[in-house]
């Protein structure tokens, strides 16, 4: 008799390998939904742990994300950075750096979470996908804190955004998909080759200076051409343009990157879904 009337689970060496991208994404979303309460608790725990034992407590959670921004703000006040593209230097910088930290965080967060929680995932049945989401919650919090500072800078410099700036989340969405996808793939690769996380850290340290975050790259020759293929540069430029000028100037590059982002995200979700079981316990 075939016992197929009830939930039937088969585990084989090729389990999950046959799942398509859509099925993989559906399963990942299902996992995250099942563990939503855990995600909330893990985020709260990590949030508390980040300042526990300190004298100033929660104050640090608000101050630390702002430190890099305030450094650039101070530099712009010293006239190290002039006004760019009709936008005040301080606004240009703090806005770009906020986006940079958000997008770079999307790459780094999955790598860090997979590295630190991989062994635990095998024992606790708390999937890595849920751990990554709780990590993103922290990233989101840091970004919101930075956004408050950016708003203050905008108000003080009176570099008012256009009403099209409301479209920022939409413009940013494909960038998030792309960099989360890259992060998921690199998170798996980092289990195989431990050097990956270090290489990524170095690349991102340099990347901020060559991605149009701190200053525009339209007059830097080869770099400006290369930046047509640099997704950080394309998305940050597009987001800045839509907020302060009301339109994406290089729309074709943005569109191409959006297509790439969708493909990357779908592929990465499938790869992560398949490999998650296989990397468990390997540190």
């Amino acid at each position: 008799m075939l016992n197929d009337e009830k939930q039937h689970r088969i585990l084989r060496p090729d389990s999950r390998m046959t799942e398509g991208s859509i099925e993989a994404m559906r399963n990942l979303i299902g996992e995250i939904w099942t563990f939503r309460s855990h995600i909330k608790i893990v985020f709260k725990e990590q949030f508390r742990a980040s300042y526990s034992g300190t004298g100033l407590g929660i104050f640090w959670s608000y101050v630390l994300p702002l430190v890099p921004l305030t450094v650039y703000w101070a530099l712009s006040k010293l006239r190290v950075f002039p006004n760019f593209e009709g936008v005040d230097g301080a606004t240009f910088l703090t806005f770009g750096v906020t986006l940079w930290f958000l997008l770079a965080g999307c790459v780094q967060m999955p790598i860090q979470v997979v590295q630190s929680r991989n062994k635990e995932a095998m024992k606790t049945a708390f999937p890595l996908s849920a751990s990554i989401v709780s990590g993103f919650a922290q990233l989101l919090f840091d970004t919101l804190v930075r956004c408050v500072l950016v708003s203050v800078v905008v108000a003080t410099t009176q570099s008012w955004p256009t009403w099209q700036g409301l479209m920022l989340p939409v413009a940013l969405f494909p960038a998030l998909l792309l960099f989360i996808g890259v992060g998921l793939l690199l998170g798996i690769l980092n289990v195989i080759y431990n050097d990956v996380s270090r290489v990524v850290t170095i690349l991102l340290q340099y990347g901020i200076f060559v991605s149009g975050v701190i200053f525009p790259l339209y007059d830097t020759g080869l770099l400006s051409t290369l930046n047509l293929f640099n997704p950080f540069a394309v998305f940050i430029d597009a987001c800045r343009a839509i907020v302060f000028h009301g339109a994406i100037e290089n729309f074709s590059a943005y569109l191409a990157m959006t297509g790439l982002a969708l493909i990357m995200f779908i592929l990465a979700c499938r790869a992560f879904f398949i490999m998650e079981y296989r990397i468990r316990g390997i540190t």
Partner: protein, 418 residues
């Protein structure tokens, strides 16, 4: 996979490969990752790489509703790996596991618990992990708390719970889920006797509705509770059948291992030698101050070794020695009359007794092997083993083989160490 009527769990040629070399594991993972990106299925495992071994190999069995299967074997036999594979925490490298219905596992006591969160909240969290809504959990909440016997502590963070309390809570939640298949590791060894009996009684109540896989070192639990048992040995299925027979085979294996242990000890203590023409009536043993033979002593007590023998002639340079090893063969120390200021001598054909005194023995807890050796200069006259000496613990924590007398002092910059 086709399953027989009422079969809830079917395991076919289940195998899991592990590696002692992390590089090998990563190499295999890299191949799997590459094949996955190309849309290919995993490569069959034809050859083992350096450092790889089968933690589990070709294990097959099935389980019907109402059945309980005991899993026994030595440490490292693959019992927990088997449970992790059955529970879906790991993927097999060969073979397959087929489960019909809801499965729940109690493998790690703290698994799935959020340690900083209250017991109450954890009940709902674990329920969510097992696919239960908060409403469904609310219905069984009182039953869980009552069964766990945790009382008001249910509102405290689970990090404050004892291992017994944690086990009770984990078990109570798990049985309240009414799973079709339940995998239980050694967890029932935690907690007091009364609660363990309560757990077994609850499992018995659930017997008709579910199937169980129980890993235990308690042969009485296996005998009393299981209908069938399997014996795992070095990852392979050594036996499957009646629990009584499985236990007999396991005990036999234990005896064989003990024999092997004896052989290992003999290897450490060899060579044994006795020149009976020169030395006879040799007696030697560890003893207490009263001269009574002992085989156990506590760290810090005074240990004696009494030895007596008769020689046929007066040795020119009589040396007595007692080399000591750990059970693993590590050479710990030696006690020799060579360090004695006055030379040792014996009267031929007269039985002489020697007493070695070791005050305040500083060996850490463990089993120690030793020989008693008589030499005449470089010539061995006798080399025989003493009884095994077990040093018992007097402190909770210790490191290495010996604990040298020591103390710590503390001072600040303004103070001087005197």
């Amino acid at each position: 996979m086709l399953m027989q009527a009422d079969t809830l769990l079917e395991v076919k040629r289940l195998s899991k490969l592990y590696s002692r070399a992390p590089g090998t594991t990563r190499q295999r993972l890299a191949v799997t990752f590459g094949r996955m990106l190309l849309g290919w299925t995993p490569k069959p495992l034809n050859d083992l790489h350096k450092g790889e071994f089968w933690s589990l190999k070709d294990v097959s069995f099935s389980l019907k509703r109402g059945e309980a299967l005991g899993v026994i074997g030595f440490n490292g036999a693959g019992k927990t790996t088997l449970l992790r594979l059955l529970a879906g925490q790991l993927l097999p490298d060969e073979g397959e596991v087929c489960i019909l219905g809801k499965a729940a596992a109690m493998i790690d006591l703290t698994a799935g618990f959020q340690m900083t969160t209250s017991g109450e909240r954890n009940i709902f969290l674990r329920g969510a992990m097992l696919g239960r809504s908060n409403e469904e959990m609310a219905v069984t909440y009182d039953e869980i708390v009552d069964f766990a016997e945790i009382g008001d502590a249910i509102e405290a963070p689970v990090s404050t719970y004892s291992s017994g309390m944690l086990m009770r809570l984990a078990f109570s939640i798990m049985v309240a889920m009414k799973p079709d298949v339940l995998f239980i590791d050694e967890i029932l060894s935690v907690g007091d006797f009364r609660f363990r009996q309560k757990c077994l009684s609850r499992i018995r109540e659930m017997r008709d509705q579910a199937a169980f896989v129980l890993v235990s070192h308690s042969m009485s639990n296996i005998k009393l509770f299981c209908d069938r048992a399997i014996v795992l040995h070095e990852g392979r299925l050594a036996f499957e059948g009646e629990p009584k027979e499985a236990i007999r085979i396991y005990e036999e294996m234990k005896f064989t291992q003990a024999v092997t242990q004896e052989a290992k000890r003999a290897e450490i203590l060899k060579p044994q030698f006795h020149n009976e023409k020169v030395v006879e009536q040799v007696e030697h043993y560890w003893c207490n101050a009263g001269g009574q033979p002992i085989s156990e002593i506590r760290s810090g007590e005074t240990l004696y070794l009494k030895a007596s023998f008769k020689t046929s002639h007066r040795p020119r340079n009589l040396i007595l020695g007692v080399p000591v090893w750990t059970e693993e063969g590590g050479y710990v120390t030696g006690f020799s009359t060579e360090n004695q200021e006055e030379g040792m001598t014996v009267t031929p054909e007269e039985r002489t007794t020697f007493l070695l005194k070791i005050p305040n023995i500083i060996f850490n807890p463990g089993v120690y092997l030793s020989n008693f050796v008589i030499t005449d200069g470089p010539e061995f006259l006798y080399r025989g083993s003493n009884t095994t000496l077990t040093v018992l613990s007097v402190r909770d924590r210790f490191w290495g083989v010996v604990m040298l007398p020591h103390s710590w002092r503390i001072s600040t910059e303004s103070e001087e160490l005197s």
